[in-house]
Structure formats: C-alpha cells, structure tokens
Subunit: 283 residues, 4 copies
C-alpha cells in the first residue's frame, strides 16, 4: 500500500533521521522524500511517499505510534493519506465555461485522481455542459437576498457528500466566511491576473489600461481577504500594443484553465502545504 505523509513542525536537529528510521522500522520503503526548512520562520516541512507490503500496515496502529513516538516529541502537525482513496472535489461555476470544460474533460480522461460528486452554480448557463459530462448539477442562486439561504444549501450539499475540497472555476460570487472556515486552505480559486497585480474586479481591463507587456493567471487558496490567499501556481503570457481587451481575455482563458488545473492536481496529489499565508509546493 502506498501512503503520503505530510509533516510540519519547528525545525530541530535529527528530525529527518528520526522520521525515516521510524518508517523503516515499520517496514515501509521510502520512495520519495522532499523536505523544506523555512529559515526565517524556523519551520520544517516534509512530504514522504512510502510503500508498505500488502497487509503489513495497520493504519490505526501506525497512526497511534507515529503520534506518540514522533509527533508528540517534535510537536508535529501531520497527516497521513492512503493513495487509493480519492478525494472528493466540488466545483463551483457561474457563466464562464472554459475552466469547467477543462476540468471535466481532464476528469473524464482520468487526469484527475479525484471524484466530482457535483457542480454548483448560481446560474443555469452551464447546466447543459455539466449534464453532458453526466455529473449532478445544482442551481443555487446567490443574489443579495438569497445569500443566507444559498450558503445553507451549499453547506448542506458539501457535507452530505463528504466533500474534501472546492474548486472555484471562475465562480463570480464572494465565498462566505463560514464556508471558508469550514474549508480552510481547501478552496482553490483562479484569478485572472498575476497577483498581486490587478487584484479585484476586471483585471484584464486594468492590465490593458496600464499597458503591461505580460498578463497572467494565479491560482490560490481562498482566505477572507479578497485575492490575498496563499498562491499555489502562476503563469503568464506575452501581450503587445496590438492586442485589444478582447484579445487579453481570450489569451487569458488559456492561462486560467491550465493554471487552475495544475493547482487542482497539486492539491489532489497532496503536494501543497500552507504556512504563513504562503505555500510549500513539493516536486
């Protein structure tokens, strides 16, 4: 059985040795190890993929021992993931379809090792596309008056399906603080600029106005402050004076869908860790 362990704690001498010896003593073969020390914050991060012979690993015992022998000692925050259990991702959309098409076609092509229990939208525009891919679609309006009601419906769906994380595929509504609180560092957004440039509304218009020669897209975890959460992935493309705002938007669509899908895949593969509003992205 393959497992992925994520760890972070105060940096201390001997920690790598302690962890790898423990895994080894439990019959695990470490097939991948990546580690990072944030020198300023003095924090140690590690991602470990280990292989255990079938039947040799009793997850509950392993967890208990890891906790008492290592985690308590080093005051670790840690999690263990079995690679054969797919996380459940919900997708939120509004009217733009390019990120949705890209995610759903990757899902059908088995590029995303996740389940998609449903798609939520505050509009009906993309319902046909979601149906076309045989995935349940829920229309939850989210106008000023319906916000409270909408949030209740969203949370109910997310909980009843045991959703692990949420992907905002150009969802055009503010995510409520209570939803963020329920899914800390588990709501992935795509913003259509290279943040922190052009945060907020209409970034392509602002970029055009400023006369930049490069436009970008940024995927980040949602926090309460708008467009200010931990950045997972960014990419850019060149533009010139000859491009109109419409051209910016068209070129940007390609960036947005690729950057979002990359970020989603990093999250699914447990290659992201968040600390101090920044991410560690393992290779």
């Amino acid at each position: 059985m393959k497992t992925t362990i994520l760890i972070h704690c105060k940096d201390r001498s001997g920690i790598i040795s302690a962890i790898t010896s423990f895994i080894h003593s439990k019959g695990g073969n470490i097939v991948y190890l990546d580690q990072h020390v944030d020198m300023e914050a003095d924090v140690f991060f590690m991602r470990l993929e280990s292989d255990f012979k079938t039947g040799s690993l009793h997850i509950d015992n392993f967890k208990k021992e890891f906790q008492t022998k290592l985690a308590d000692l080093y005051q670790m925050k840690w999690s263990l993931h079995q690679d054969d259990i797919k996380p459940k991702m919900a997708i939120f959309v509004s009217k733009y379809n390019h990120c949705l098409y890209d995610l759903l076609s990757r899902f059908k092509s088995e590029e995303l090792n996740a389940e998609i229990p449903f798609v939520i939208s505050n509009h009906r525009d993309l319902e046909d596309i979601v149906n076309q891919f045989d995935i349940p679609f829920y229309h939850i309006p989210f106008t000023k008056d319906l916000k409270e009601e909408g949030e209740i419906q969203q949370l109910a769906l997310l909980k009843s399906h045991n959703v692990d994380f949420i992907v905002l595929a150009r969802y055009m509504q503010i995510i409520t603080p209570s939803l963020i609180a329920e899914f800390p560092n588990k709501i992935i957004n795509i913003h259509h600029s290279f943040l922190p440039a052009f945060a907020g509304a209409k970034p392509y218009h602002a970029a055009f106005e400023r006369g930049v020669k490069i436009i970008g897209a940024t995927s980040h975890y949602i926090t309460e402050e708008l467009d200010a959460g931990p950045i997972i992935e960014q990419d850019v493309t060149t533009v010139s004076h000859s491009h109109t705002i419409k051209d910016f938007i068209l070129k940007g669509r390609d960036l947005e869908k690729i950057v979002l899908s990359r970020a989603v895949n990093l999250h699914i593969q447990r290659k992201t860790m968040v600390y101090n509003n920044k991410t560690v992205i393992f290779s």
Copy 2:
C-alpha cells in the same frame, strides 16, 4: 541612405495610401512598414523604414515637403531619423554593477548602435568598471543637501554632450522633475518587479513576503509618478518556496540586465512610440 520615419495622428481613411505614395514619389523604397491603430483613442501609429539611392534624398527638402503635403493635412506628429547617425546615451548608476556590465559589454561588442559619452554615478563604487571600459566617469553626489547642485551638474553634462536619452542602470536616486521635463519619454529605467506589482522600494522582499511563484523585471520610461511610466519591456522567471530573498535577488539580476538591454535596443532602433502613458513597440 536608410531612414526611419515615426508618425502618429488621428486615424483617417486613406492615410497609409497617402504616406506610401509620397515616399514612393520621392524615390524611396519602403523596406519595412508597421502600423497600429488604437481603436479606443482613434489614433494611428506608423513606423516606416525606407531606402533612398545615394544622393537622391535631400533631407531638408524632404522634411519640408512631408510637413506641408502630409503632416499639416493630417495633423501628424512625426520624426525622421537617419540610420547612420548614432544616438548618444548617458548611463546613470549607483552601486549595483550587473546592468552596467551588461550594457558596457554589449556596447564594446557593437550590439548597441549608440554612443556612450559618459557614465554618471552618485557613488564611486563602479568607477573602476567604467574606467576598465574606457568611458568617462563622473561622480555627482546626490544627497538631500546636494540635490540641487547635483541636478545642475547632471544637466550641464547632458547638454554639453548633446545626449539624446538616458539609461538608469539601477540608479537609486529619484530623477528630478526638471530632468524628466528635459527628457520626456527619453529616460529608461529598470524596475525589479513585474509592474504594477511591487512598485516602490524592496520589490524582491515584498514578492518573497507575498509568496509569489513568478518574479519579474520591467523597463519603462520615467514619468513624474514613481514606477508608473509607459512600459517598454517585461520578463519573468519562476521561483519556489525553496528560494530565499537572496535567491530572488540573484535570479532577478539576470532578468534586470536582459530586460533593460532589450528596452535600450528598442529605443535605439526607434521601435518605441509613447501615447497615453502606454507604448507601441514595433517589431
């Protein structure tokens, strides 16, 4: 003889035909033509390279006729440049040497079709390097008290050498409004971020703090508002959580020198036009 003509005016039907016919009637062969219409501002831009048989072109007559037959009619702003006359560029530096090394070694390798009458610095740190390349070096201190005095010395040097444009190769002092007024859209700066992100001081520190996955550099013309002038050229490179601020600075050095040198070369080749605080960059 080769000439380059730059034109901008309100867009009107028939204008390309009028200009090209005029050049043709004067015996010029158009070897390159690039044009752009800013649809929003309704402005027409053109860059024309023409070849005239030796002796066939009387510059003064040509200019006079162009003015009366075309420019007056279409209310053009225009300029004509003879490709065999090299523009004179002054370089301003402070303590960082990478952009200076890059510019001077390109100059010696004849990659820059310009003259460099001198280098000005508010410090003596780079004097040896400038001497090493056999270029006059002037030390003009620029502390709070010496600002006024400094500006007078700068302007005197620039005028006595008929300097055409100025390159700020990581010059760490504010350029005074009177200097900007003397050299409108003729002072090229390099800023060490992908503007408008991280304008102002210490952009690498700010980028590190924000946890971006991409850092950049921007070359722009200096205007009175800090880091807000028309952008000529930008480029970026990827970074990760494993990079320290020192790494950002080192990776950034390579971006800065390449982006600045590209912008300088575009300016020398008269491939830049400025309008509404944006640039048209001809190919």
Copy 3:
C-alpha cells in the same frame, strides 16, 4: 463589409503604395496592414484587412479589377476572404481525446470562427465525446488492407461537405499523398515535440532517453515528408530528472492542445502564409 486580402509576389519598389492606393480608390478603409519581405528569397508578403461600407463593394468586380490592375502587373498570387463566411474544418482523431476536447469546447464557446461539419476517426473510442458535442462522427477504419477504401471514403466526405481545411487532432495514421495534394497547406497537424528534435514516433520516450530539460509541441502543415512541413506554432515547458515518461506525456498533453488550437485559430483568421516550406505568421 470586412475583407482580408493575402498577397505574395516578387518584391518591387512601390508595391505597398500601389496596393493601398487601389483599396483606397475602391472606397475601402484599411484597418490593418502587415507586410513582410523575405530578403533572401526576395519575396513580398502582405495581409490587409479592409472595411467597405455596406453595399459599396461588388466582390466580383473588385476581384476582376484587382487582378488586371495589380495582380497581373506585379505577378501576384493573392486571395480575398470575406470575414462573414466561416471556413469549414474537418477534424481527424484516433484515440487520444485531449486535443479533441479542447477544439470542441472552444468551438462551443465560439472561440473558433469556423464550422465543423464532422469528425473522422479510424477508431470508435472517441465517438461518444463527438456525439456529446452534437457533431457527426464517421468511423473510417484505416488498416493496411483498408487504406485505399478509407482514403476514398475520406475524400468523398471532405468534398461533399466542401471542407476547407483539416485538423489532425492526434490522428495516428499517415495522411495519403493524394489527400495532401487535395489540401496543400491546409492540413494542420500537432506533433508532440519541439521539431526538428524528435521527429517520428514516440518523441516523449526519445526526449526522456536523451535527458532534455525542455519538452515541446509543434503544429505544422502536413507535407509528404513526415514531420517536416511548415511550422505554424511551437511551445515548450520545462521538465526535470524527477519526471517520468508518464509525466512527460501528461505535461505534453497541455502543450499539444494549446499549441494546436492556437495554430487552428491562426489559420482560421488567415494569418498564415506558406513559402519555401516556412510560414509567415501575421500578428
């Protein structure tokens, strides 16, 4: 009415002036002009977008006059396209679905200004996807024995639908010489390497074997020589020793679909011209 004119001929003095004057005299307003001179081959290329007031342009008369007054004189090869007539593109696929998904979702989003009368495949694997997008699907087997038969069927379909150009979206069969002859510089392929590196089969395996740090994708027009036709568009992405062949293939999928779609859009917008087995790509 908007038209796009493409021209190439031997370079001669006065040619731009002659063409722009002609358009002007016919009441056309030139909204875009791009031109290129291949100095080695001494050939002139031009792309012109012109706007004519509704009702003012009699296409047939215009064409006749253009031919006698300009084209005959300068021995031009030229074509005129009305921007309101959508070209018809056929898609050929085999088993890989990522390029197909990308093209069809762009088509549905109206990013591609073309019609797609049908998709042809030598396998049935992607039939469901094509149906899902409500486009006719034709299964034309193409084994060694069925090649001749297959080509006849392909040609019959292409002709009966007046197909203008063909897109090979990871179609894994050789295109026959007679099909190429019927569609010269009108069959767009995507090859999964930065050509000319790794032409032929299994480029990702070859790239992995060689230990490159960059992989790429190339879209080109099909010619009789395999993977040697005029290149329309290329892009690359970085890889490292930590990537397996499977990773190369996954990263490559994103490149392939983006590069192919960009090339298709350039072709649809008549921004490509072919000469001496190279392309001129207008901006």
Copy 4:
C-alpha cells in the same frame, strides 16, 4: 562547518534512514536533503548539506567511517565537499566575447563561488578583455598541425593549477579525447540550439532554414560524441518570420550567456550528478 555530500548507489530499502542517522550520530545537522530514485535504472541519488559545529568534524575520520559503515555496505559512489573550499575553473574561449564577459563580470561580482586561475584561447582576439579583468591569459594555438602540441600545453596548465573543471565559453575547437578522459563530466559546454535539434555547426542557420518559431541554447557536459553529452540546462526564446539569421544570432547570444552561467553555477554548487548520460539537477 558546512559540507555537501553527493551519493549514488543501487536503490535499497532503508538507505535514507541509514545515511541520515549516521550524519546525526556524528553531530551533523542536515540543513538540506534532496533525493531521487531512477526507477528504470533502480539507482538512488542523494545530495545532503550538513552543518557541523566548529571543531566537531574531523574530515578524515568522518570519511573513513562513512566509507566502512555506509559506502561499503551499500556499494555507494560518493564524494564530500567542504563549502569553504572554492573549486578552480579554467575558461576556454575563441573569438565570441559575450559568454566570457558574462562569466567574468559575474566572477567579479562574486556571483560565482569559484576561482579562475586562467583563460585559454586559440586566438588573441579576447586577450584584452581577459586582461581588463586581471586574469592570466594564455594563447594556445590549435590548428591541425599544432593540435598535439596544444593539448600538451593545455594539460600542463590545467594540472599545474590544479584545475577542477573547465568551462567552454563558445570555444570553437574540438576537445581531445585525452582531455575529456582527464576531466570526465567536468567540462561544461554551451551549444547554441535546443539540443538534440541542430547539433553540429551553424545551428542558427539550420534553425532559420527550418523555419522554427523557437530557438534555444543548451549547456551540457562534454563527452566524446559531439553535442551528445549530459544536458545540464536549456532555455529558449521565441522567433518569427520577421527575424533574420543575424537576429537569431543576437537573440541567441543572450540565451547562451544566461544558460551557460546557470549551468556553471549549478556545477559549482555541486547540484549536478551524472548517470547514464543524463543529469540529476538538485534544487
């Protein structure tokens, strides 16, 4: 004291644990660990940076014990480097100056943590530049007749200065097999194409001829087969039909110098390992 250890051997369960425990038991604190397993070849690679308290590390004892307790057991090939000992790099050049300027200005700016005992050239063209940077210059002609003599002189200089590795900064002569044998995976070359495309002479001409939309540069270790050694670093830039061969060469100069300097720095920092004619590049 800081040390860097590089290890490779057949992959075996428990190896990371064994190594990290050993370092820990010797009083070392692991500040960086990166590891890679080549699954196909079944080989394990590791790079470890460790910090030892001043005076606590007896290098010779440590090496002896590492060899008997670990290396013999796991049949490791390994090396230990003290970070305070700068490697000695010789530079070979011919007539092109851009890579030389870039390396020497980085050296003077202390971007390269190495010593440069001398520069060798088969021409005198760049002698002034080398003098300008106060580095010894040796002119060693290398024509057909003088090859044997030249190689003897080269080897004598390299040995008398205890040179660790060689950088070919656009050196235009074939490196002799005996020199390669003396410096296995220690001669760094820059080739002006994205290998394996356009190996051999005149790659920019070949790229122009082929009509590519991307050109590149590749830095690799020299092996007996021309342009076929392990690739350290590659980068590319876009070109278009509007670029001449001269433009390719100019754009390429920027790529060449940056790619070569990056590769040199990776080598200096011991971040490269070679196996099966490929490199592992640690982050």
